[in-house]
Subunit: 298 residues, 2 copies
């Protein structure tokens, strides 16, 4: 962890405190099945860096909104992320038994409960947006439309499908980036855009700059993930080191070499921060988050 | 099939034509994975009675709305229903290999694709509501909130969790109904309520009457399902006859006997139709649907 990450770490900690409280409240709403509710809580509240919520809150600040208005959208993003992890870890998918340093949901509970918990976490994301305080119905609808597009078959789930189809195949760098732009990039971009949409009159120009920031950052995030899979420590990264290589998944280092991947990471960081040039001091947390994403050790 | 079902059959056919066209359009929107999109299409467009969309369109008519305004909500209900079937059929859940007379999605494709297709179908339901034409943003938000509540951990998914937990247990009739009110009832009630919400000024009184109608109808639907599992023909019902009993699932006939279950069915039908007493001739399709639900042979 370098010095450049400390402002982001403080900001992430601040975001986590706000978000985790709201997430716990959201899941608390009476369910008819204690086991299902417990699996949802386990999957959402068991750690995690809260990068997407933090990007959402940081984008709200960058366009001059109050943080309060961005809390529900931020939670909805984390719920979508959490559901995707639960389903991705299933035996029929990536078959992972360790996540965030703990047994994955289908190991801690059972496969059926994990499938249902994932399903219900997705639904809850839309409940939170439909009920989001301090926003107009028009803002709620815009956010729901953006989140759905980013997370469905045209976004995250589509990317996950490409990922599964690509195991063992020789992707080129364009195909790899297409996969990542969907699998992780779309939701990271939505995180920033939902934050910006908390400002009722946010300009197209700001929205577009923030999308560019997020688009580069999303890829940078993935390059760093690939590097950590090779260089990271299982205990710190919270999942098995080398698990991508073991599954013959295409990665940046495999295509560009270690040095090439590190170079790409630097270029993406620069691209990401340059996109914020038209924004002022209010965008400091977004800039800090970019530094964090490329330097994090888990 | 008795004479009392013919008006409903004509109405269902009318609804299916409208809905299936819109559903095909919705899924057509470019996905990045052909296989995922194909699995979504297979799971949604491969038959099905379209009871939920028909209830939604019929409720819209009952409160004096134009059918056009109810088409997108009707599609969203069918998408939630379709996703729940795909996930319920998975090996870790009900492990069914036959649905609507065809191999289930995880057999026709593979388990991972079935999980993702279900996930994406749920998301698409919310996209359709967020983009629904002829509705105000306030109506869209109300419908999204209702649909999410009916289908998440407080509704359908919660009911499915109870169902899984109940296999082999001796439920009493109250516990059985609690399960069904969540597992199938909540979405049937949402079908009718979303249809009614197409009328911007729909009265609380009408909404409440329609909820009562749907609540009784939802249980009636389940009683008839249980009876068909015993008395039906595998070829006609499109899934294995006797599959509930084989899994030691609690059913109405098991708890009330065949005659008792048929009696309960009659009482629920009456209750359902009585709830519509305050509505006029415009509610005829809803009445026809009630007759259909208790007399259908699949």
């Amino acid at each position: 962890m370098t010095d450049s990450t400390s402002p982001a770490l403080a900001y992430l900690e601040h975001c986590r405190t706000r978000i985790d409280h709201e997430l716990a409240q959201g899941i608390q709403q009476a369910s008819v099945s204690d086991r299902l509710q417990e699996a949802m809580r386990y999957s959402v509240l068991g750690g995690g860096k809260r990068i997407r919520p933090a990007l959402c809150l940081a984008a709200a600040r960058a366009v001059g909104s109050l943080e309060d208005a961005a809390v529900a959208p931020a939670c909805s993003l984390e719920l979508i992320h959490a559901y995707s992890l639960v389903h991705d870890d299933l035996p029929a998918m990536d078959d992972d038994d360790l996540r965030r340093g703990r047994p994955t949901a289908h190991i801690a509970f059972d496969e059926a409960t994990a499938i249902l918990a994932g399903d219900a976490l997705q639904t809850l994301a839309f409940t939170l947006l439909a009920d989001a305080p301090q926003l107009s119905d028009t803002q709620r609808v815009s956010m729901i439309a953006e989140l759905a597009r980013a997370s469905g078959h045209q976004g995250m789930v589509g990317g996950q499908a490409i990922d599964l189809e690509s195991v063992g195949l020789a992707l080129n760098i364009e195909q790899l980036e297409t996969m990542h732009r969907h699998k992780t990039g779309a939701l990271i971009e939505a995180s920033v855009r939902l934050g910006a949409l908390t400002a009722p009159g946010v300009s197209e120009q700001h929205l577009s700059a923030l999308s560019d920031y997020a688009s580069a950052l999303g890829l940078a995030f993935q390059v760093q993930d690939d590097l950590l899979d090779i260089e990271g420590d299982t205990e710190i990264i919270g999942k098995r080191q080398g698990s991508d290589a073991a599954k013959a998944k295409p990665t940046y280092p495999a295509l560009l070499g270690l040095d090439g991947a590190r170079e790409r990471l630097g270029a993406l960081l620069q691209q990401s921060k340059q996109a914020l040039d038209g924004l002022g001091e209010e965008a400091a947390p977004l800039r800090a988050m970019a530094d964090y994403v490329v330097s994090r050790n888990h």
